[in-house]
Symmetry: C2
Subunit: 390 residues, 2 copies
């Protein structure tokens, strides 16, 4: 793989500290990290010896600001705090790092703070973003929930921003369908924002994943919301805008997605609705009109369509973690089993089982069928499958 090798505990600490130094999406910071490495960069920012000129392009004023932030960073405490809250810090080079984010270049997150049991990389592989207005109409909320449920039923992970309106409806729709959902926050993953969604965010952290670029206890700002959108766009295979006014943040996410070569979709609404005007603007450009989950999956799902081809290959079960293997073994040889049944047989919690099932789905080991799961047919009998296809 082209990802840099894990830099060990020193690099992890340096990256955790740098999430306190640079705001999300700071491309200069990203370039310095790339050029100097996180450990050396932190050394220069915190060392007593390094003047401004030691880092090319950094003005004395700016350096002062960075130094102040760097000197007050306590990554060890942040990591401990995150761990105490059931969280972790995932770095580029980690097995779990979603390498899609590397498409952001120097604006790539320095690392991701995450809560939730599931593998970020595997979940992101098979994910779609549903975004839209906070002050959505009942129609927008209905569409978000319906699309999310449909995506979940098809084994896709629903990614959104945990905001009121479309975001919340999307997360809830996925959760209600017993599906997987990821919330990308514009604040620390231990901060419940908006307050009214504290319970929802907690539930997502249990059944899904809550993640973000900002270290513990950081609060959102307008800029952080906007820059959070690039992470949603880059993480997923496509972004669906459900309802959006002209010039709204959701359109920023969609444009980010477009620029990154992701699929950009929009849900039509009445031409008389200002909350559909932004979506229609998108659809008059590059966006694809979608009206249900099947149409979304049709567009983003080539990966899924590749699955049959992969069935013939010997899949690297030895690369799976213990928990995933346990869940895989808990599936019946033939037929479909519900998530709860799988959990019972694997002796893990239902949320744990669901997390592993979505990972196994991304890797092509299992398939979703209705409310349940089954082993991908032909997976364990490659020879037969090949003979059958000859």
């Amino acid at each position: 793989m082209s990802a840099p090798p894990p830099g060990g505990e020193r690099e992890r600490l340096a990256r955790a500290a740098l999430t306190r130094v640079f705001e999300p999406g700071d491309e200069r910071g990203g370039r310095w990290i790339r050029e100097l490495g996180p450990v050396e960069l932190m050394r220069r920012l915190t060392g007593v010896d390094g003047p401004g000129r030691a880092i090319e392009g950094m003005t004395p004023t700016r350096l002062a600001g960075y130094r102040l932030r760097a000197s007050s960073a306590d990554p060890g405490r942040d990591l401990a705090e995150a761990a105490a809250a059931g969280g972790r810090f995932v770095c580029p080079g980690d097995r779990e790092w979603p390498s899609q984010l590397d498409d952001l270049g120097d604006a790539r997150p320095i690392g991701l703070w995450a809560r939730g049991r599931s593998d970020l990389r595997l979940w992101a592989l098979r994910s779609v973003a549903l975004v839209g207005a906070r002050a959505c109409t009942p129609y927008g909320a209905h569409m978000a929930a319906t699309l999310a449920a449909g995506l979940a039923e098809r084994g896709w992970v629903v990614v959104s921003g945990a905001a009121f309106g479309v975001d919340g409806a999307a997360h809830r729709g996925a959760l209600a369908a017993g599906g997987a959902t990821m919330a990308v926050l514009a604040c620390g993953v231990d901060v419940a924002y908006p307050r009214g969604h504290a319970e929802l965010i907690g539930r997502i952290a249990e059944q899904g994943v809550v993640l973000g670029e900002l270290p513990p206890s950081e609060h959102p700002t307008r800029t952080r919301f906007i820059l959070r959108n690039r992470v949603i766009a880059a993480l997923t295979r496509g972004t669906v805008v459900v309802e959006a006014e002209y010039r709204s943040g959701s359109l920023v996410t969609a444009r980010n997605a477009q620029r990154l070569g992701r699929f950009t979709m929009g849900v039509p609404g009445p031409a008389t609705s200002g909350l559909s005007a932004g979506v229609h603007e998108l659809l008059r450009g590059e966006g694809t009109l979608v009206t249900d989950a099947a149409e979304i999956v049709e567009l983003v799902g080539e990966m899924g369509e590749l699955a049959p081809a992969r069935r013939g290959r010997v899949l690297p079960t030895d690369a799976l973690g213990t928990a995933a293997l346990q869940v895989l073994d808990a599936l019946p040889a033939t037929g479909v089993a519900g998530g709860r049944e799988v959990a019972r047989r694997a002796a893990v919690s239902t949320d744990e089982a669901l997390g592993r099932l979505y990972e196994l789905h991304s890797l092509g080991f299992v398939e979703r069928e209705g409310d349940g799961w089954r082993l991908t047919p032909g997976r364990t009998c490659n020879g037969d499958a090949r003979r059958g296809g000859a």
Copy 2:
């Protein structure tokens, strides 16, 4: 021009008769007309000497049917009846023939029966079709009326099929804005179908144009409705589907338009509405999403955008009829005049004046501004315009 030269009264009579022999869009009939000419074809169909083999590809059974229809045709009476009802029969080669219809090849109408004062060709040059479901929602009716009014205000002719629902709302929207509208019927232009639209169709014949392929007193059939749609598609620069279920007639019109290289547009609606499902299907294909008249004109209006270039050319006012010249002269040298004022100064009826104004608009002599009309700036001072542009 490539249109055949007018064949005189004999050809006109033969074509009028042939509209009683062949159903709309009969391509074999069209080929025979092209190969033999209408007069010779009628001679063979009505003559006592001509057996079936005299016309290549015509089976004896089919010939018998055609001969029966041909023998009972009385084009002289039809033309007289049409004239009595204020109508006329327009043939290929006539100055007024809308040559866009030639794109239909052998499925081109044999001729067009029309009621209304205005020039078919000039009106069609600057026309857009608004079509959609008969059983439309209040939203669909609202959009049809609003788009039609907006098109009329921009000097565009609204073409539709006089049916209940979207069609009716479109015609009414154009009429209400003091605009031009054409109804293409699937029956004789003296037949008011649907009955409930008798008054509307009468009003269109006064203020606009009612036209169709079928001779007087003919009634619509399912097939005739479907084949009527190709005329709407070919006549106009683009077709807008306002509301349509899957597999609806409006989608047939849209597909016809697409095949003929016309613009195909659709008005989005709620994804939860079955009456928008057909439109969304269209928009997921080649159709362009439009939400207001400005977006429609932006798409179909290159002709309008060419107008400035044409201003520099000497326009052939000598090609205009007396009535059009009268109306042109009635416009003030500078500033805007309402249709009624122009009518008064030209000593013609308001409907007559409007008809001529739309024709003059198509030719670039006049422009629409708000509710009124003005001479196209620079039209009468080409020399000055050229110097100004150098």
